[in-house]
Amino acid sequence: MSSVGVGIIIALVSVVGVFLFPTLSWALGRWYQGRLVRALNEQEKRTGNMLQSEHYLSTSSSMNAIGANGSTLLHVSICVGPSMGQMFFMWFKSLVGGRLASYDTVLDFGRREVLLRLKKQADDFGCSAIENIRIETSVISFAKNQKSKTSSVEFLAFATGIRQ
């Protein structure tokens, strides 16, 4: 009887041991990323109209830039990744499929952040319009093992900044 009890205790401890770190990482990740997103929301509100031109963001290359004084190539990139815990639980989620909320949050954050930085860079260069914006996504595998291959995603935004 006691050997069964010991067996149950060992099983419980190992289950807790396996799930403890991912749960901790998941919770920390949720908290940290929530903070990042809130900070981003604030910044977007504050700097939404940083560039004072009316057509300041455009994905087309048609020139509203007639009378432009100069131009510059802008490029910004950012590397983001979900936390280890999120990746761990995502594996379970991917058994049933559907929406992967952790990736949603992280990728959405990265894309918004990179656009914000593009605007900032344009402002630094004194540009009043941004033309022909392109956003590219690529999986960066700096990790040696295959398992953590999708641990980081790079967003690259590039555009032509125009001084008017």
């Binding site: 990482s25 920390l28 990740g29 908290w31 940290y32 990323q33 990042l36 290359s61 020139m63 830039a65 009378g67 432009a68 004084n69 100069g70 131009s71 510059t72 190539l73 490029h75 990139s77 950012i78 590397c79 983001v80 990744g81 979900p82 936390s83 280890m84 815990g85 999120q86 992280v106 954050f109 990265g110 952040e113 033309e131 022909n132 392109r134 590219e136 690529s138 999986v139 960066i140 595998s141 700096f142 990790a143 040696k144 093992n145 295959q146 953590s148 641990s151 980081s152 790079e154 690259l156 590039f158 555009a159 032509t160 125009i162 001084r163």
Partner: protein, 112 residues
């Protein structure tokens, strides 16, 4: 041209350089660099992966590399006698585990 010198040409990712007149097209120029992470940055990024979010070490590494690729492209354009590059595109690819290639290409032109 001395190696290590930085040069700066007009660049854009549209068909022209806004505000300038395109005089002559000289053809394709490319620049690329393959980078691997260094172990210090990797350990730090691994720690950062506990909470997720932005991995600053990788962001910096990629930015540095991309600037170098651009610099190589500009050197090539400069040696062809161009003073501007239009239609610049970027591409990123994984060439091996632990390394990635940053590649940029464009059309070298002369503008006035």
């Amino acid at each position: 041209m001395q190696p290590g010198t930085t040069i700066s040409l007009h660049m854009s990712n549209v068909e022209t350089i806004p505000g300038k007149v395109l005089v002559n097209s000289l053809g394709l120029v490319t620049g690329s660099t393959v980078r691997a992470k260094n172990i210090g940055k990797d350990i730090f990024a691994g720690l950062k992966n506990i909470v997720g979010g932005e991995l600053k070490a990788y962001t910096e590494l990629l930015n540095e590399s991309r600037n170098e690729a651009l610099q190589r492209m500009m050197l090539q354009a400069h040696s062809m006698g161009a003073n501007a590059i239009v239609n610049v595109r970027f591409a990123t690819s994984n060439v091996a585990a632990g390394a990635s290639e940053l590649f940029c290409y464009g059309t070298a032109v002369i503008v006035e």
